[in-house]
């Protein structure tokens, strides 16, 4: 019974950690816009937290460069298992328009495993919410 309680709580209230790793701010602001009254992901029980040790979902926006790849890996490793990574925006997927720039390593999946990819430059809040919900379905399969 206790196990079931934990499983339910995890599913009903996933906590979210957002990390901007080299994005142009477009996607970050859209992630923040998801939390505000018009889109309101808090109705799914999602809370934006600042501490990686509290988080279940990891939203990453932007390209990876050599300096922030360390921070990204560090945050990922601090998160408790099970965890879901959602990469947001063209830059997070592949490097986008910046993939040829000299200081860009590439997409988020070069550094950490990614579960859900959300395309768009920048990704719209609807797409981000859809990505988060898809991530939650996968989370459900992992938990059970």
């Amino acid at each position: 019974m206790f196990k079931k309680l934990i499983r339910n709580s995890r599913m009903k209230s996933p906590w979210l950690l957002h990390f901007d790793c080299g994005s142009c701010n477009g996607c970050d602001i859209e992630v923040l816009a998801c939390l505000t009254p018009v889109y309101d992901v808090e109705r799914f029980g999602i809370i934006n937290v600042g501490n990686p040790m509290h988080a279940d979902l990891f939203l990453v926006t932007g390209t990876v460069n050599s300096r922030n790849s360390m921070v990204l890996r560090n945050l990922y490793e601090q998160m408790p298992n099970p965890k879901i990574v959602v990469a947001i925006g063209s830059c997070g997927l592949s490097g986008g328009i910046f993939r040829e720039a000299y200081n860009v390593v590439g997409g988020v999946d070069k550094i950490i495993p990614v579960d859900v990819y959300v395309p768009g430059c920048p990704a719209k809040p609807e797409a981000i919410i859809d990505g988060v919900v898809t991530g939650l379905q996968k989370y459900d399969r992992i938990v059970n």
Binding site: N25, G26, C27, I29, V38, G62, N65, G96
Partner: protein
């Protein structure tokens, strides 16, 4: 009390962006600040070697997702000046309308984030709710919410018809009413004044000497607004730079709040004066020469240095963004302040790190 070094960032709940500060604190008081950058550095100025000068418009828009129109506008002004292209008057007015819409959404975004930085979450939600209306205007007129990509070398890509203009005007009226309703809370509430008045003071002399730009400079009493140069169609519109004299976080908040309302006024003026005609001209030839182009971003003066030698690729593109000029101000504002005031003061310059590092 011995000295302690406290790292602030790069992943910090107050700032969505990775800014890293090394704060030396004595007891609770900050004595020294060293900023560390490089978490967002992409080196996109160098992309001008592989993209041609038309494609670079899309690249410079992605210097910063919040004020993309204004970046593209500054770049296009530079190239147009170099190639001697005269932009049609309707395109100039359209540029003003979109750039002022972007200024509005950027200031509303900042006002919300700033309220969040001292824990006033209700105000944050209110401002972002209003901002969504501005985003709706962007989406319905250009097809995208944030990076709208309307500017091209030689004009603009999209036109506004009279239906859209009247719809925008009704929506602007609603937005103006909603913003004015929040004025009392933002400017007189105890929570706000307690956390902002007298914090992070920059005198007129200091602000000018450090070379700060935009609301930080105008909040310290210096009358300087690059829009008064009259680029695009600003020479045909009536406005006065918004200036406050106190130089603290509260003065900067007031400047940005009044500028939001000023932008609504400017859009109305532009819409009433907009002439009919073409929206872009055909571009022939390749750019050649050296040019410095400046416009006013929400965060301050933006400067592009462009050098071209007659190829389709530019020789050198240098972008000086307003936050780059404002970061040295943190070094003057923070010493002597309490550690708990650091997030508020850092946010009061409206840092945009992806602009700074490009």
């Amino acid at each position: 009390m011995s000295k302690t070094i406290i790292p602030f960032g790069p992943q910090h709940p107050v700032l969505p962006e990775p800014l890293h500060l090394k704060l030396t604190v004595e007891d609770e008081v900050v004595t020294e600040v060293i900023p560390a950058l490089g978490f967002v550095h992409r080196g996109l100025e160098k992309l001008s070697e592989i993209r041609d000068f038309h494609q670079m418009v899309q690249v410079v828009e992605r210097v910063c997702g919040i004020c993309s129109v204004i970046h593209a506008m500054c770049y296009c002004h530079g190239i147009e000046e170099m190639m001697g292209i005269e932009v049609p008057p309707r395109a100039k007015f359209l540029r003003v309308i979109w750039s002022e819409l972007h200024r509005m959404q950027s200031h509303l975004l900042w006002l919300g984030l700033f309220a969040d930085s001292f824990g006033f979450e209700a105000l944050f939600m209110q401002f972002w709710k209003i901002r969504e209306k501005v985003m709706d205007i962007s989406e319905s007129t250009t097809g995208n919410r944030v990076i709208v990509s309307v500017n091209v070398v030689g004009g603009v890509r999209r036109d506004l018809n009279s239906e859209q203009i009247s719809w925008i005007l009704t929506l602007l009226k609603e937005i103006e009413q909603e913003i004015s309703a929040l004025k009392k809370t933002l400017l007189t509430d105890y929570t706000v004044t307690k956390r902002t008045v007298g914090k992070g003071v920059l005198t007129k002399h200091q602000a000018y000497g450090i070379g700060t730009v935009g609301p930080v400079l105008r909040g310290s009493g210096v009358v300087q607004d690059t829009r008064t140069l009259g680029y695009a169609a600003f020479n045909e519109l009536n406005f006065e730079p918004v200036v406050e004299s106190d130089g603290d976080c509260y003065a900067r908040t007031k400047v940005r709040f009044r500028e939001t309302l000023q932008s609504i006024d400017l859009i109305r003026q532009a819409m009433s004066k907009i002439p009919n005609g073409e929206i872009n001209v055909k571009v022939k030839g390749k750019p050649q020469g050296e040019v410095v182009s400046r416009v006013e971003q929400p965060r301050g003066e933006l400067l592009y240095y462009i050098k071209a030698d007659g190829n389709k690729n530019l020789d050198r593109l240098r972008i000086r963004t307003p936050t780059f000029a404002n970061i040295p101000a943190i070094l003057t504002m923070l010493p002597g302040m309490y550690l708990s005031d650091v997030p508020v003061i850092v946010l009061s310059i409206d840092p945009c790190i992806s602009c700074t590092e490009r």
